[in-house]
């Protein structure tokens, strides 16, 4: 189990990416799965920093945690910003041409589509967003042969 705490500013996105990629490497994820986990972590961290803290005039931190077992890589991000359940966010209309798109709403959508399981818990004054990637022995064997 690994933990890291970063301040809730956009400058922390580098550190979030490093933390997530280190977990992906430790779990033996391939390039595509690693990229998608990084995307999920980056988008949710961005959302928390921008909407949960900065726009609300709040300061705080993001607590990152990664757990790896035989079958699953679990990454969680906890914050004390504004309560927000990403699962309740409106789904963007990806069929619309760009001319008619609203500017926001894509980050959460990308995050949720990039991991195998996407969970959210509200614990007291904390948001906990959890991503799970299923580890497949077959895929690591394949990459070993490649």
């Amino acid at each position: 189990m690994k933990r890291s705490t970063v301040p809730a500013t956009l400058d922390s996105l580098d550190a979030v990416a490093e933390f997530v990629m280190a977990a992906a490497t430790a779990a033996g994820l391939d390039k595509r799965a690693s990229y998608r986990l990084r995307l999920a972590g980056d988008e949710i961290a961005t959302n928390i920093i921008v909407h949960g803290y900065v726009e609300a005039g709040l300061q705080g931190a993001l607590e990152l945690r990664a757990d790896i077992d035989d079958r699953t890589l679990t990454l969680s991000i906890e914050d004390t910003g504004v309560a927000f359940d990403p699962r309740q966010a409106p789904v963007p209309e990806t069929d619309l041409p760009l001319e008619q798109r609203p500017i926001g709403g894509l980050g959460v959508y990308l995050a949720m589509r990039s991991v195998d399981e996407f969970l959210y818990e509200r614990i007291g004054d904390r948001n906990r967003t959890i991503f799970k990637i299923h580890l497949s022995p077959a895929s690591s064997e394949e990459s070993g042969r490649a």
């Binding site: 400058d11 921008v50 069929d95 760009l98 990308l110």
Partner: protein, 112 residues
């Protein structure tokens, strides 16, 4: 993390060459170059992405902004995007609103 965006405009074709990792902290860099391009009223906007290693939704929003500012008459080309970057573009459906090319094809892009 490093991200660079360089704008050149030639014969009405605006080209933005991107490299590095484009997350929300770097998106204003691209946004500024899109605004600079738009100010010149180009006929086409070409985004050269072969050296772009990562793109977040904040970077994609600059594309939405570009399309909405420049209007439907200005085609946007996405050239040389790496597989994972292209996956993200496709997940959002943006690939249906831009023209994607694996490599720079002067016969298509420069032929106004």
């Amino acid at each position: 993390m490093a991200f660079n965006a360089t704008l050149t405009i030639d014969s009405g074709i605006a080209k933005i060459t991107m490299s590095g990792e484009l997350d929300a902290s770097m998106a204003p860099v691209l946004q500024r170059e899109v605004e600079n391009a738009e100010a010149q009223k180009p006929k086409r906007l070409v985004l050269l992405m072969s050296d772009l290693e990562y793109i977040a939704s904040a970077g994609l929003r600059a594309l939405v902004f570009a399309k909405q500012k420049m209007g439907p008459g200005v085609d946007i080309y996405v050239v040389g995007a790496q597989q994972q970057v292209m996956d993200t573009i496709q997940m959002t459906g943006f690939d249906r609103s831009v023209i994607t090319l694996e490599t720079y094809d002067a016969g298509i892009i420069d032929n106004i």
